[in-house]
Symmetry: C3
């Protein structure tokens, strides 16, 4: 796999599309951003930096992502809220046979009914992205959040 | 109209230029980002998602934008503050005879004198952009904010 | 110096790389983003807009940046925290013999141990960037923050 301008824009678009789909509450689209045997983790920076395995969320296939979507939509009882991702431009770390490795900083704001927006999470995405017949997809997306504390719970994916 | 790399960068630049002009307090430049018969709305996500017409602000021509600028600068009495937009990369939804349809997530921070910055608004832009002799311009810019509550008032445009 | 698509992406990458290196706490990389005889300032918008000289930080060479890194890492006693920059796409203001002049809006979030993320600083970068043998580098980076108040101190660079 090589990096050219068109691929960079595809990469940028994957990041934007992912963020805006989640912010629209369009959870059913979420697993489709990943490959079949993907890895998605949501982990504190404290644990990531120490190489510790514990994650807040860890899904090891697209099927597990679909299960999470089912959980969020039909099982978990929680106060409704909107999310808003603002994500920096992705920075390409490496391009090789196993895809593009890239990272980007993010902030996710949460807005509950009749309340002001507040910071839900900040951190970075650390990704491995591969080219598939349907376009670029996440083979790995590690979400590493700066704040050890999570206000209440993380319900929708970051 | 077709989408190529150069057009994508023009689009990205329009978004950045718009945000930075407003953040500089350069309100006189604001109407110039729009076509003569543009539509600019600022609407809560709650109303937008239900298809309800009520907007916090609704302007249906460049002339109305100019009138708003006059109001902000010379009529409305308010506590002065600075704005800071941080806007995600635009995502192109469609390209056709009527222009580019695109969206982008945003957060706007407000800073008053002798106070810390706070979140004024988060949401997304939903736009229709056309090519004019002066470059890309907004034929429609719908600002859809996530938070139902507005802290005090929206004075300057988002 | 001319602006083409490849240069624009190099510019975008410089901005991202800078932000992510700082957020990773990788301060030793910081001086390397600048030219040998660079200028780095951190200044309130209030002073910048009035043309006043007083800056919160002002460094006039890469050697002074290295001295600051030494100070941050080995001298200043402070509560540890993580930073997270989210930076808008750069907007090119001018391209000439003295390099690229560009600006970008930013928000920097600060997260302390066992605490929620909070807004540390918002503002814009105003830059002059030159092409060197090692790629694009900052000849000048002026950080102009909107908020007059700084919560506690600025330790790590913005």
């Amino acid at each position: 796999m090589t990096m050219d301008l068109a691929t960079w824009l595809d990469l940028q678009n994957l990041y934007s599309d992912y963020a805006l789909a989640l912010d629209a509450g369009d959870l059913d689209r979420w697993p489709g951003f990943f490959t079949e045997d993907c890895l998605y983790t949501l982990q504190s920076r404290e644990n990531f930096d120490r190489g510790l395995p514990l994650c807040t969320l860890r899904f090891e296939s697209r099927g597990m992502l679909m299960d999470r979507v089912y959980g969020v939509k039909d099982t978990i009882y929680h106060d409704p809220y909107h999310q808003r991702h603002v994500v920096g431009a992705p920075r390409v770390l490496a391009v090789g046979d196993d895809g593009i490795r890239s990272e980007a900083g993010y902030v996710v704001l949460r807005t509950k009914r009749d309340a002001m927006a507040e910071i839900l999470s900040t951190g970075r995405y650390l990704d491995r992205i591969v080219k598939t017949d349907e376009g670029l997809r996440f083979a790995e997306r590690q979400v590493i959040f700066d704040n050890d504390l999570i206000p209440n719970s993380i319900i929708a994916p970051i």
